[in-house]
Symmetry: none
DNA sequence: GATGAATGAGTTTTCATTCAT
DNA sequence: AATGAATGAAAACTCATTCAT
């Protein structure tokens, strides 16, 4: 951004900076997951990344900065994936199912990511103002939660979801529960399995199944579906109308 | 040596010790909630509790000790209350509802407690072996989760819950989700309200409502219960008519 | 000493005090050997002895006091034993051999005692004035080193020891070397065996043998002995006549 | 990253590091001798050396590190000097005498060094595994004790030493005694002189004289014996008659 | 005389951050 | 832009000893 040197050199610089940045973020990311964000010191990040402390301060002025940088990348990835997931679904119920399914897949395939979010939640609760996250969210996903609320609305309209749901209340209630469950399972992982005697993936998919059952409109005469995702339910076509 | 101290002195000593212990735990508890367990140093606890550092070390040998002592007290209280709640309920469905309702009440009336548990979860995930918690649990609640699993089983048997539930899977899935939701709401509190625009109590009760709907047996001709608790539900009576 | 109460009670007191004292000394003695005097805290001694800190301070006002009390007991025992050893020996050479032999037996049979003395030496080197030890020695063994010097003198006179020895120089030189060797072997113990590949008892007896060879008068025509002790040499009777 | 720094900077940095290290070691070394290793705290070393505590921890991570660093330097110096001493000696007896003499010179001229070794012995006895020292020794002096054992062997062969010596037993017995005597004299120093009334140097040289006399072959007619061990003795029968 | 609680004055160690080059 | 050294401020924990009962 700042016109430092001419074109070529600038790009070279840029590439170098980017590479350094990556080294730092990758090292931090790995360490954060292994030992917990709070337990990791700047010194360890420099050690693992191979960058000197003094150099690191030219990229990130403290650990928070690193955490937020990681968060931004994560949210971007997740947001894109989630959007892609929703694109394929034909109707509200399918979109809802796809969304929850996506979270289950994340838990199964990217537990590190979910664990990071769990850690972030804990820090966010205390260390940062809500605005900071909301700003970030609005950059990454300008439409906000409206998309999700819309799903409920649509589902009610097409009769696949219970009529007594309150769109923007229900969606947040459900999303919060699913996220809460997902992150709890990811961070407690093996401990949950030890205590409950069930693999976390099955627990989470059962959670999703029950929630979808709870959202679905009653008496819809036997919905049947062809879903390929491993979960529960999904979509009432044709609805009885 | 053993038969030295008579009744009085012992009790006096004991009472004193107990009072000191309380001062420390109360100070810690307050600080932990205000600023986060990780952020609190032993020095601060001594400062707030008014005991000298060296004295404190005669009661608790480190912060973990304090955390676990608080946890034990909390779990004891919660366990007792939860048991009392279940006693009054006439059938499985009522017991289930009562249980979830109890968690909603906790969130509404004792958010500090719930926030502490949320913090504990985060530490437990990294710093302590599963055995430690399981031992504590078995001391406080020797029956374990069996009580809960039994609820589902009973509900299936009396037709109030869906027949396709897997008792010990479903109960853990639901409990984990509710706990996850509850703790997330408690710790993010006002931030959730800012982002979602809904009070956390309503969000949580909606979560419970949806879950209960998801568990309840479908089109059961006339499930009727006379629940007086404040929650959710809103079940579509008269259906099928 | 201070006429506190009447006879009986005094004795009862005395017996009690003596028992408490013993408990403390025994605990300290054990701990000192296991983990090193410097590493042992007063708190540990109270813990192991079962006596409260505040009580202990009525017996010993600090760790040094305990160390010196142990030292006194040790020196008394050793001194008595050593004297007894010397009594049986018929002549200078036998007495010398018996003395050194006695030290070898101590190393073999009472390594703890020797290790304590090694530790004491290290502390004595820094923490206490020479007078303190000299006073103690003069109480326990009023004759001092004269006895030993006398042995050399006698041995020279009877022709069993080299004529060119300087009694009070040589005896101290030899005693210091033997003590130095003995304590080094006792405290380094297994490490010496690891490094040198020889059991410490054999090393020590070889040291004694060489020293005695070095002290003995040369060309002594036919020394022959009847020693029952396991060690070295001993004595030329009848000599030269 | 690797090919960054050219010659100059590296050396400059290095030189600085080395100077700091020296300051710390010198301060420690002085304090250790004056007041005893155990009595010296890291805080005092920083105070005397003039570096901040936090800086010091970038050089040595604890007191042990410092002790071992000093030990290494000491052993290197001593080892070199000792080797040089042996080079000049024409035969086994001369080498043996030179070796012991060297120890006497050390005691006379470098009592601090010897006192440090005495202190090290005491710590080594408790605080460190034998391997640690053996590793260091093998780095500094890869030939090990073989050189010394060889002296005895050679001396026996050329008739200057008693034939009944057991090379690797005797050498260790003698070395241990001499070292034990030397370190005891160095650490008790003035106290020994007070108690014994003789200067430590004379005492030590007398010890050496007696030991050498004990090792030397009795003059003339080839003593021969068959004893292997245990007691030794070795009294020359029938001789001289 | 014994007890148990209390404590002040250390000690080691850590870490985010700055500074001169 | 990068480096390596330096460091202030604090954190956790220890321990000999005293005091009120």
């Amino acid at each position: 951004m700042p016109r430092k040197k001419e074109k070529k050199p600038v790009n070279a610089y840029h590439a170098h900076r980017e590479r350094q940045r990556r080294r730092i973020l990758d090292a931090a990311w790995k360490l954060f997951d292994e030992r917990g964000i709070d337990r990791i010191t700047m010194a360890e990040i420099t050690l693992v990344s191979g960058v000197q402390p003094s150099t690191m301060y030219q990229y990130f002025s403290n650990k928070d900065d690193i955490v937020w940088a990681i968060l931004r990348e994560l949210m971007q990835e997740v947001s894109e994936r989630a959007k892609r997931t929703l694109e394929d679904a034909p109707n509200a119920m399918a979109r809802l199912a796809a969304l929850l399914d996506f979270l289950a897949d994340e838990l199964a395939n990217n537990p590190i990511r979910v664990r990071f979010m769990a850690q972030f939640d804990a820090m966010y609760a205390r260390d940062w103002p809500a605005e900071r996250l909301m700003t970030l969210e609005s950059q990454i996903n300008p439409e906000g939660f409206e998309v999700f609320t819309e799903i409920i609305r649509e589902g009610i309209a097409d009769g696949s979801l219970r009529a007594d749901l309150v769109p923007d209340l229900t969606i947040h209630a459900v999303v919060n529960a699913v996220i809460g469950a997902q992150r709890r399972l990811a961070s407690l992982g093996n401990k949950i399995e030890l205590e409950y005697g069930k693999p976390i993936d099955r627990l989470f998919r059962e959670t999703i199944r029950v929630l979808l059952l709870g959202l679905r409109a009653p008496e819809s005469p036997k919905p049947r579906q062809s879903r390929k995702w491993k979960t529960a339910d999904g979509s009432t076509r044709k609805r009885s109308a």
